[in-house]
Amino acid sequence: MDDLLSIQGDLGGLKQVLTYQDGVLTWKEGENTRSWQEEELETVKLHHYVGSLTINAKLKDGQELVLLRGSQGLARQYQMFAQTINNRLQGKDDRAYAKEVADRCPKCQRYYADPARPICLRCLDRRSLSKRVLGLAPPYLRQIALMILLMLASSLVGLISPFLGGRIFFDEVLDSAGRYAGRIGQVVLAMFLAQLVTLFLSIWQGRVNSRVSARIVFDLKTQVFTAMQRLSLKFYNNQQTGSLMTRVNNDATHLQAFFHDGLPFFIVNSMRLVGIVAVLLAMDWQLALYVLIPVPLIVLGTAKLHPLLWRLYTRRFRALSRLNAVVNDSLGGVRVVKAFGTEHEEIQRFSRNNQRVFAVNREVGQMSSTVFPALSYLMSLGALVIWGVGGSRVLWGDLTFGTLITFTGYLGMLYGPLDFMTRIVDWWSSSMNSAQRIFEVIDSNELLWTPEPGEIVPMPRVKGSIAAQDVTFGYEEGKPVLEDISFTVEPGEMIGIVGRSGAGKSTLINLISRLYDPTAGIIFLDGVDLRYVDQKDLRRQVGMVLQDTFLFRGTVFENIAYGRTDASYEEVVQAARIANAHDFITKLPDGYETVLGQRNVDLSGGEKQRISIARVILHDPEILILDEATASIDTETEQLVQEALERLVRGRTTFAIAHRLSTLRQADRLFVLDRGKLVEVGSHQELLKKRGIYYKLFTTQRDALSHIGVAG
C-alpha cells in the first residue's frame, strides 16, 4: 500500500479534504465524498488566483473540476500533492516528490512564518545566536579584556568622586574634628586627580573600543559580501530575500552601534549600578532604601513610555522616507515632469507628504518635550525624599552632613544607568534581529546544486554541442515558465530564439548558461549533464552579450579585460578592433585609460555595447549568448555592432534572442517558443512555408515595420 497523501482546504470555513492512495483520489466535505480512479484522471493542477489557490482535476472525459481551495501559504504543499499524482499518472518515478513538506516548526508545531524560509523565529535558539554574535569577538579577546578592565577601573574611580566630595570633604575636612581637618588643598587635589584618571581611562577605553567594534563589523561585512557572491541568481530574484540584501548594510551598522555603544555601556552601567547600590547600602542602609523607592516608578514609567515614543519615531522615519521617495521620483523623472508640464502637481505631491512629516514631527516634539521633563521631575522627587528624610536625620544627629551630600551625589549617578537598562532589552533584541538577518545571508544555501567533488567533470575545452531533454523550469512553485523542452544543437550552429515577450526566451538562455538549474529534465554540454560540468570551465566557455550592458567603474582597458586580468595591451586592442570599438576608444581623451562611470564620460548605447563585445571576444568562449544585443542601439551604429557580432558569432555555438526578426537572418535554425513550449524549429524559409506561429510573427512585424517606413 502507498502512503496516504492528504491536503486540506482552509478558506471560508470549508472543511474540505483531498486524499490520494493506491490510485484513488478522494474528495471529502463533511458527509459528502467523491472519488476518482487513476484511469479517469488526466491531470491534477495547482492554479494561483489573486487571493487564493485552487487544485483542479481534469478528467479523461474532458470535464474539469475545482477540488480544493486554499490560502496562498499552502502553495508548496499543494504543488507537491499535484506533482506526485501527475507523476504517478504518467508512470514517472515520484520519489523526488514524496518527501515530507516541512511547513511547521518541529519543536513548537507552529507554522513557519514564511514557508520558503523554514526558520521558527520563536524556537530559534537565541542563546546560540547571541553566542555566535559574541563569537565574532575571539580574535580580539585581548583587546576586549583590556576594554573591560579599563571600564572597570574608570567605574571604580568614578565611584570615588562623590565620596570624596561628600563624606570626606564635609565630615573629615570641614569638620574640625575630622581626620583631615582643614586640608582642603589635598582633598581638592585628590578630586582633581580622580577626575583626570577617569578622563584618561575613558579616552583610552573609547579608542580601544572603536578599533575593536569597527574591526568586527568590517569582518562581518566582508563575510556577507563573500557569501553574496557565492549565491545563485535565484537568491537575488527572490524578492523577499532581495529586500533582505538591502537591509544587510543597515543591519551591520546597527550591530556596530551595539558593539560600540550598547555592549560597553551595558557593562559599565551594570557595574555602576551594583557599585552604587553596594556603597549606599554600606554607608547607611536605611537611607539607601529611601533612595530606591522611586526606582520602580521610573523603570515602569520608561518601560511604558518607550513603546509610545518608538511608535512615533517609526512613523516619523516612514514619513521621511516617503518624502525622500517623492523627491527622488520627481528628480529622477525630471524630463517626464518637464515634458508633461506637471511641475505644479509634483509640488503638490511633495507638500502633501511634507505635511505628513510636519504633523509627525510636531507630535514627536510635543511628546518628547512633555515626557522627558516629567521623567526628570520624577527623578528629582527622589532627591527631595533624601533631602527631607536625610536632612531631619542630620538635625537629629544620627547622620553626618557629608553622608547626605554623598547620597545625593550618588543619586544623580543612579538614574542614568537605570534609564539605560530599561532600553537595553529592546536594543539587544533588535540587534539580535539584525544579526539574524546577516547570518541568514551568510548561511543561505540558495546555491546551485553541486555534485560531489569526485563527480565533477572538468572540461577545459569543449566542442560546443548543447542538448536539452524534457526540460521544465519555473521560478516559482507551480508556475512553470518552460515546459518539456527538448532539442539538440551542433557545435558552431547559430540558433535564433523567437517568440512573444513572456514566452520564456530569456529563461531558456538562463538555463543554458546555468544561472539556474531545470526543475526537471537535463541540459547537456557535449553530452555531459551541465550540472556536473566544472563551474569554472563552464563560465570560461560561455560568453554573453546582453541588452543592458553593464560596465564597471574603472578604465576602458579594465572593462575589456574583465575576467582576464592577464590580458596584454595587444590582446585588448585586437579584441577592440574586432568589436569595432578601437576607433572611438582611441578618440577618447584618455584612450584606453578613460575612466568609465564618471559624469563627463558619456558613452552611447552602441559604444558601450561594443566594449562589452570586445570583452566577450577577449574571453573567447565556445558558446555565445546574445540577448537582444542590438535592441537599444540606433540604426546608424547598429551596423557597426551587427558587423562586430557577425565576427564574434563565427565558429561559436550561438543562441541569439532578438525582437527584430530580421537580425536573425544569419541563424542556422530558429526555435519558436510559445507560452513556455518549443512549438516550431527550422530555418527561416522552412518556418515561413509552415505558415505557423513564426509566419504570423514575421508577417505582422514586417507589415508593421513597412508601415512606419522601416525596411524589414
Binding site: G51, N56, L124, R315, N433
Partner: protein, 162 residues
C-alpha cells in the same frame, strides 16, 4: 485590434459549471472554462471585468456586472469572491511583533484568521484615506474597510506600518 473589446451583455451567458468553474456562452460560441480578471479590483470591482481564455487571449471586457442577466451575475460574483479572496477585517483581536515578524489574529467576515506579516515594507497598502490592505508573507490579502472602525491601539500600530 487596438480598440477595447466590450462584450455585448445580452449575448453573454456566464455560468458556474458542475465542477465549480465558469463557462461562457457568447452567441453561438461556447467556452467551457474562462478566467475572470478585475481591471480595478480596489476602486471598482464591479466594472471592467476581463473575460479571458485560460492562459490565453482576452475574449472581451464586461463593462459592468449589472448589465448581465441574473444567473451570469451570480456566477461572476461567486467566482470573483474566490479569485480575489480577501477577508474583511472587523476587529484586530491581537497582534504581536517579534523579531521582525508580526503575528496577527483578526476577526473577519469570513471567520477568525491568524496570519504573519514580515517587516514593514510592503506589508500594508493604503488604498484610500481609510481603506487599507494587509498582505501577509504568502501574499494573502486582508482588507480593512475603514481604519476608523478599529480600536485606537490597533490603528496606531497600523500607522507605524503605513
Amino acid at each position: 485590434m487596438a480598440d477595447v473589446q466590450f462584450l455585448d451583455a445580452k449575448s453573454v451567458r456566464l455560468r458556474t459549471t458542475a465542477g465549480g468553474l465558469v463557462s461562457l456562452g457568447l452567441g453561438d460560441t461556447f467556452f467551457p472554462k474562462v478566467d475572470l480578471h478585475l481591471a480595478f479590483p480596489f476602486s471598482d470591482p464591479e466594472r471592467f471585468i476581463s473575460v479571458r481564455e485560460p492562459e490565453g487571449d482576452e475574449i472581451g471586457l464586461i463593462r459592468h456586472i449589472q448589465e448581465l442577466d441574473p444567473l451570469s451575475q451570480e456566477a461572476v460574483r461567486k467566482e470573483l469572491r474566490w479569485r480575489y479572496y480577501t477577508p474583511r477585517i472587523q476587529r484586530i483581536i491581537s497582534y504581536k511583533e517579534e523579531f521582525g515578524h508580526t503575528y496577527w489574529e483578526v476577526e473577519t467576515d469570513r471567520g477568525v484568521h491568524t496570519f504573519v506579516t514580515r517587516g514593514r515594507d510592503q506589508t500594508v497598502r493604503s488604498i484610500s484615506e481609510r481603506r487599507t490592505l494587509i498582505i501577509d508573507v504568502s501574499g494573502n490579502r486582508y482588507e480593512i474597510a475603514d481604519l476608523e472602525d478599529l480600536d485606537v491601539r490597533s490603528r496606531e500600530y497600523l500607522a507605524t506600518l503605513l
